[in-house]
């Protein structure tokens, strides 16, 4: 029997082929690392249930192939993702430059509300670095998203990355709930001339139940 959980969050890893998406995911789900490069076929996913503020959150993390030939199948999974990790390789300038294309891909295919995060992987390879941390940070600021440098090999900040993304999604969920429900009393007084807002803005969805 499957473990019980409170929420299911679907995450997605995208980025050029070879940047280490599969390894990052393997590190997070199995806490292991494999140096042999086996190119991902189309799509794959791993499950890990984490604990956030006493809530069990089941993460279904989709790994995608970076190659063009799988693009149709991988983009089909964008829309279902609540969070997307954009991964590049700090030792590979091209993979960093391509991030903007991946962002565009997200804009075209993912839900507008999707939570995004930028990962600069292989950060233990300091001597081969082509992309400075500052440039990563700068790009993240440009897109208004968070940024973390990780290493799947040396197990650096991989946990942190996924926990951060999951937490951001959870925070967004709670914020949405607040917006959707009745504003607190103070909010009413600001618009004293207008009667109370109808409390059914999202409750109307209950009719689907």
């Amino acid at each position: 029997m499957a473990k019980t959980y409170d929420y299911l969050f679907k995450l997605l890893l995208i980025g050029d082929s070879g940047v280490g998406k599969t390894c990052v995911l393997f590190r997070f789900s199995e806490d292991a690392f494999n140096t042999t490069f086996i190119s991902t076929i189309g799509i794959d996913f791993k499950i890990r249930t984490i604990d956030l503020d006493g809530k069990k959150i089941k993460l279904q993390i989709w790994d995608t192939a970076g190659q063009e030939r799988f693009r149709t199948i991988t983009t089909a999974y964008y829309r279902g993702a609540m969070g997307i990790m954009l991964v590049y390789d700090i030792t590979n300038e091209k993979s960093f430059e391509n991030i903007k294309n991946w962002i565009r891909n997200i804009e075209e295919n993912a839900s507008a509300d999707v939570e995004k995060m930028l990962l600069g992987n292989k950060c233990e390879l300091e001597e081969k670095r082509q992309v400075s941390r500052e440039r990563g940070e700068q790009l993240a600021i440009e897109y208004g998203i968070k940024f973390i440098e990780t290493s799947a090999k040396a197990s650096i900040r991989v946990e942190e990355a996924f926990f951060t993304l999951a937490r951001d999604i959870k925070t967004k969920m709670e914020k949405k709930l607040k917006e959707a429900s009745n504003p607190p009393k103070g909010g009413h007084q600001l618009r004293a001339s207008e009667p109370q807002k109808k409390p059914t803005s999202w409750l109307s969805r209950c009719t689907l139940l």
């Binding site: 189309g42 030939r69 693009r71 294309n101 207008e194 409390p199 009719t207 689907l208 139940l209």
Partner: protein, 627 residues
């Protein structure tokens, strides 16, 4: 009714738009034949190779395995959500309270020394301490702040909203209610029938289809369960709670009548056709009931099935449909005064899924005094509309040219449905005082039997100019209003009399009021007040005892001048008469002034502009307390 004759064909110009489902189609095609489609989304990558290798068989198999693994996860998730839904339904069914003097859940009476009365911030109903929670600390109530309580039903609804992912995907995902596995057998029987018909696909494809089919994504609805809830809910608690449930099995007879009255003479044949189809077979009702819980937008919904093969497109049966599809309308003048809407439809035959993409609307009618609107679209398959299969887009605020760009998916649309049914798109103004009509369009699905994807730009029609007509049935009210906690309607007549120099208000009747008393009825009367009014006049109708659809036909006069009417508002409030205690509020409405929009605003302005005429119109009552 709009004829699809003018729509562009899917094979026409691929650059004109990229249907979001194209990538799915492309994927299917790719997996079958290795053929690849260039889409706009890929153009960003300069390094994109121009020639794509087809996927090897091994690769295809690997991908299918992943998808199958994912479906197991999906089923677990659907069962989990199903349990939550079931629990909530159970709670709703067993809610006992009637009116504000009882806890809405346990029905305990509030007395002076009895349990404390707490108002739920979501539904604004009253609950006792035991049946409400404090949202601030999610613990049971202390004596601290009083503004953050939720009744258990609303608390549970919120939980489901979060836990199901509905908060993100903007609709309830598929779910499987506990104990519905017996219907799966039914489903696979139906599927196997389908496979036999399908000669064009290879064995391999068929296997995939079957695997995907049988892996249990269909969420079924237990009919026995549903019937029992109908019975128990019809007069329990309050009528409006039964909305979704009571309609699950009931056909929308009143809706059909209503539609029929809207001078759709050319359509009458269609309605008959479909109503005969209703009684046809049990399997249809099974399908219909299964459809209830299937409003979702999950990514893994697509299947490997290909679109209709070429041979079938050319088959005589579909050709005859085309010719009978009604070309008579095509020569009519196109009236775009209500604006136009752009959408595309894609039918996936093997999985019986209808994908609708609502792109945008243009030149919608203005609803507020600033000339703007807050439109959204409600989509439904008619006739035999089911509350739970209607879908909606998000609201786009303050615009007459909304960009929706949303995909909405209908499940279990059979080919029979295609032949007989229509997609109904209703554009509605999202307003805190209720939803106002902005036009509609009905699109025959028959066209989808000829081509899988159609792209449409169609004018919206105004089929309900004044909302006069017959008494709105509760079902229609639900369907039109989409409002779980509706408070009923009122029919009002306004007339400015130049002779009497007065606004004459006739309270004609009310419909679908809430039952507030223990006997399942209310004792309604209506209060009227013009604001601002130097004389502070208030009028009251008589009390209609034990009546949820009272007829008043009482006229009242407010002396005023037309120029002043532009500044004034009429406050209409409906109460339940109670002796020995304060009257219960049933619902209210404001006409005119800054608080008025849409139909209410129009009604008011018409009254001013055309004096000495009676302007009669239905309005929805809102539960907002009007001060």
């Amino acid at each position: 009714m709009v004829d699809l004759g003018s729509s562009s064909s899917s094979s026409g110009s691929p650059n004109r738009f990229v249907c979001p489902n194209d990538r799915q189609l492309a994927l299917r095609a790719k997996l079958r034949t290795g053929w690849s489609v260039k889409t706009d989304s890929l153009s960003g990558f300069s390094s994109a190779p121009t020639v794509n290798e087809p996927l090897a068989e091994q690769e295809q198999r690997a991908i299918v395995q992943v998808i199958q693994r994912a479906e197991k996860i999906d089923v677990t998730e659907q069962e989990r959500v199903g349990k939550l839904v079931d629990r909530l339904e159970h709670m709703r069914r067993n809610a006992l309270g009637r009116g504000p003097n009882q806890c809405l859940l346990c029905g305990e009476n509030f007395r002076l020394l009895g349990p404390q009365r707490i108002r739920c911030i979501d539904c604004l109903r009253w609950a006792c301490q035991k049946c409400a929670i404090d949202t601030n600390n999610a613990k049971n109530i202390s004596t601290a702040s009083r503004e953050h309580y939720l009744c258990m039903i609303c608390a549970e609804t919120r939980e489901i909203w979060k836990k199901s992912g509905a908060w993100f995907f903007k609709s309830m995902p598929k779910y499987i209610l506990p104990g519905d596995s017996k219907f799966k057998r039914n489903k696979s029987m139906r599927m196997s029938r389908k496979y036999r018909d399908e000669d064009s696909s290879s064995d391999e494809d068929r296997k995939w289809n079957r695997q995907r089919r049988n892996s249990g994504t269909e969420s079924t609805f237990d009919i026995t369960d549903q019937e029992s809830c109908n019975n128990s809910m019809t007069y329990n608690f309050s009528r409006q709670q039964s909305c979704s449930d009571s309609q699950l099995s009931k056909e929308l007879e009143p809706l059909r009548n209503y539609m029929g009255s809207m001078n759709l003479t050319s359509e009458s044949k269609n309605w008959e056709e479909s109503s005969s189809g209703d009684n046809k077979a049990d399997i249809d009702s099974l399908e219909a009931s299964r459809r209830e819980s299937m409003a979702s937008k999950s990514v893994t919904d697509w299947t490997w099935s290909d679109s209709r093969s070429l041979d079938e497109k050319l088959s005589p049966s579909t050709c005859s449909v085309k010719s009978s599809g009604g070309t008579s309308d095509s020569k009519q003048m196109v009236d775009t005064s209500m604006g136009i809407i752009e959408l595309s439809l894609n039918y996936d035959q093997l999985s019986s899924i209808l994908h609708c993409t609502v792109y945008r609307a243009k030149n919608l009618i203005p609803m507020d005094i600033g000339g703007l609107s807050d439109p959204f679209c409600k989509l439904n398959i008619l006739p035999n509309a089911k509350v739970s299969t209607r879908l909606r887009t998000k609201t786009v605020h303050k615009t007459r040219n909304p960009e929706f760009n949303e995909n909405l998916t209908f499940y279990d649309i059979t080919e029979d449905d295609l032949a007989k049914k229509s997609l109904h798109v209703l554009v509605v103004d999202d307003d805190k005082y209720g939803h106002d009509y902005m036009g509609e369009v009905r699109i025959k699905l028959a066209k989808l039997r000829v081509q899988n994807t159609i792209y449409l730009t169609v004018p919206l029609e105004n089929l309900r100019p004044e909302q006069k007509g017959p008494l709105p049935a509760p079902e229609l009210n639900q369907w039109f209003d989409f409002d779980l906690w509706s408070r009923g309607q009122i029919l009002l007549s306004l007339c400015y009399s130049t002779k009497k120099r007065a606004l004459l208000v006739t309270v004609v009747r009310c419909a679908n009021l809430l039952p507030m008393d223990n006997n399942g009825f209310s004792d309604p009367f209506v209060k009227l007040q013009l604001k601002p009014d130097p004389c502070h006049r208030k009028h009251k109708t008589s009390v209609k005892w034990k009546n949820l659809n009272p007829v008043f036909n009482e006229e009242f006069a407010f002396e005023t001048r037309p120029t002043e009417l532009y500044m004034q508002s009429l406050y209409i409030t409906v109460f339940d008469k109670d002796y020995g205690k304060s009257n219960d509020y049933l619902g209210g409405l404001i006409l005119g002034g800054s608080g008025s929009k849409g139909q209410r605003l129009k009604h008011w302005l018409d009254m001013i502009r055309y004096p000495d005429h009676r302007h009669e119109q239905w309005h929805n009552l809102t539960e907002d307390l009007l001060e």
